[in-house]
Amino acid sequence: MPMITGELSWHGAIVPLRVGVSRNRKARLEHLRMTVPQEVIVLAQIDTSSHVTALMPDALRSLQIRPFSTMRLRTPSTTRDNPHECFVYDVAITLQSGDTSWPVPSVHVIQCDDFNPDEEVQALIGRDILRHCVFTFSGPHNSFSLSF
């Protein structure tokens, strides 16, 4: 399995992520001879507590995509019986380890702008992606690995 390894930072385990339009949308754009938006590269925090993967609104805006669904979501700021309803977007993501890439052609993400400007993170990888991976967090060695 390809593996990404790194040191744990103040924000935990951070990996680079390439984000583009989903395979279905790319095919549709190409069929219509329209320009396919360029992938964007973001730094993503691995978050084993979150069900879903999330991106900063800027990343979604640059891909020129609309939501295709909604999701009920509990967050630290919602009450137990009153979850938010949030939009869901269809994107493609790629994890990269050296010369090996792992593309996921359709991932259903939400948007989140709850990242501080001085934070190195612009995205969050949730268990929807992690369920395909092996993630090791080594506190004593201040390191992590992500195999996919």
């Binding site: 978050d47 609104p57 009920r72 979501l73 630290p76 359709s106 939400i110 948007q111 989140c112 990242f115």
Partner: protein, 84 residues
């Protein structure tokens, strides 16, 4: 384009039709594809409904939702944008 484009018509259609859909056991658990004020079709998986949405409506807005009485909420560790 604003990524928060609202799916206003599609969501209103889905909410209006949901009680009737739930009364039909063949529809419960299926994924419904909605475009504008029209229920288009039903699919066994989210992926199938999404692919059908791109095939039928191209780049126009469309909505995919599962026909369930009580959608289980997901958990997310940061503040997220509510859509309404």
């Amino acid at each position: 384009m604003n990524p928060s484009t609202t799916l206003e018509h599609e969501l209103a259609t889905f909410r209006m039709e949901l009680p009737a859909l739930l009364s039909d056991p063949r529809k419960v658990g299926q994924f419904v594809l909605v475009c504008g004020k029209m229920i288009d079709s039903f699919w066994p998986t989210m992926e199938a409904a999404l692919a059908a949405g791109y095939d039928r409506f191209g780049l126009e807005p469309f909505l995919v939702k599962q026909v369930v009485a009580d959608e289980k909420p997901a958990y997310f560790t940061r503040r997220a944008h509510p859509c309404r």
